[in-house]
Symmetry: C2
């Protein structure tokens, strides 16, 4: 992931950080940040008719890979700006970048995401260029690389288990992308492992009522955290401390 | 709980409903509504120096009873207004009322809450009149009744279990009041029981790492839902369908 982009962003939204988004250290939680990134992605897509309109036509966007790097988390009551832009198409991935800044313009966080366009009936990936505005998502080979593929560990320590509840379901009746990030965050904080970067690969959807078992292996600066339901790998991720 | 109050409200805040607050039916989740009510309570308290300032002086507000009645939940992208006011003191309870309206002024939800002021060291309740602005919270016997006491069922069916995770902790390192409401909502929706009113009594704090076992008994229109950790009763609640 590039540190920051030179190309202009295409859409932005401003948020006040609210009390329920804050952790005991007084800072925005990772899952709450991911909620806001997702809100901005949706609003951008809807503003140019490649969001809910596509869903109504039988397509859905599935988040496949997501890298989020945080320099500083905002506190309760702070105002932040989240910018986003399409960053071209890479094979079947549509790329979307985010940048989070505080009220003085300081960059708090950056993120890159890779999305697949699925036919809801067949579950087959479709070419994103079919539906995306070409002025927002260049169809030339993109200047931007998608987040990297992360291997699923063969072995690992067994951590805890998270149950998939009704509140994990989003408006399309799928487990929210952010739930997986909340599980990672909850698991890492329970281990006393604080971090600056999450890189997650979404592998298979978690389903309502399932128990997601966490596997992990840790070195000093980096933890490999993956989740599975029975024999099905659900996600895998690198969680890293930087500069430290 | 009165349907709506005749006395003026004292504080208000406006919110846009965001994608991550919505359930698969397209409406605001109960837990997300409770998040917003709590935000407004905190901001009101902080605006008059009976919020975080008191915490720094060794006191804390503990939500003891909370009744929320919903007429209609807003949808994604809607703007809502939440008003709140102190509604006097009843013995050791400080009462706070809420009213939620949409952009045309239609009342979407009403709520009444009863709060105890605890000395953080001794855990003993203090008289709220010691710290509350008397022009906001009348010390005369209040015109308003606190939410009712709910008995803890002796017996009940055992429902599911919820684990208390790090993301349940609020900025004061206590399990967020809203987590209990999320557990109730998750449990009821899993049972296929939709509802218009929640009345909850908070009994003992849930602690990080605990498993909260749900007990319930159901008749057609009303479900008694309580939570316990081992032998400790954590909450008890009535969840009701109205007009139906």
């Amino acid at each position: 992931m590039k540190e920051s982009s030179n190309k202009p962003f295409q859409f932005q939204k401003t948020f006040e950080i609210l009390s329920f988004q804050i952790d005991p250290s007084g800072k925005l939680r990772w899952a709450a940040l991911a909620d806001l990134l997702q809100e901005v992605a949706w609003k951008h897509a809807d503003s140019r008719e490649f969001g809910q309109v596509l869903f109504d036509k039988g397509f859905m966007w599935v988040l496949s890979r997501f890298d989020i790097q945080v320099h500083a988390m905002p506190s309760w009551g702070e105002t932040i700006h989240i910018e986003t832009a399409g960053r071209g198409i890479n094979k079947l991935f549509a790329l979307r970048e985010f940048r989070v800044t505080d009220s003085s313009g300081t960059v708090l966080a950056t993120a890159m995401s890779a999305w697949l366009l699925l036919d809801i009936k067949t579950k087959r990936p479709q070419r994103p260029s079919l539906v995306l505005p070409s002025e927002l998502f260049e169809t030339e080979p993109s200047d931007y690389a998608p987040p990297e593929k992360i291997s699923v560990p063969e072995k690992g320590h067994t951590g805890k288990t998270f149950h998939v509840n009704h509140s994990d379901l989003d408006m399309n009746n799928h487990v929210n992308n952010v739930s997986y990030i909340r599980w990672i965050e909850d698991f890492c904080l329970e281990q006393g492992f604080t971090f600056d970067k999450i890189s997650i690969n979404y592998l298979n959807e978690a389903l309502l009522g399932e128990n997601i078992e966490i596997l992990f292996s840790l070195d000093a600066q980096k933890m490999l955290v993956s989740g599975r339901s029975g024999e099905r790998d659900v996600f895998t991720s690198w969680v890293e401390k930087l500069n430290g």
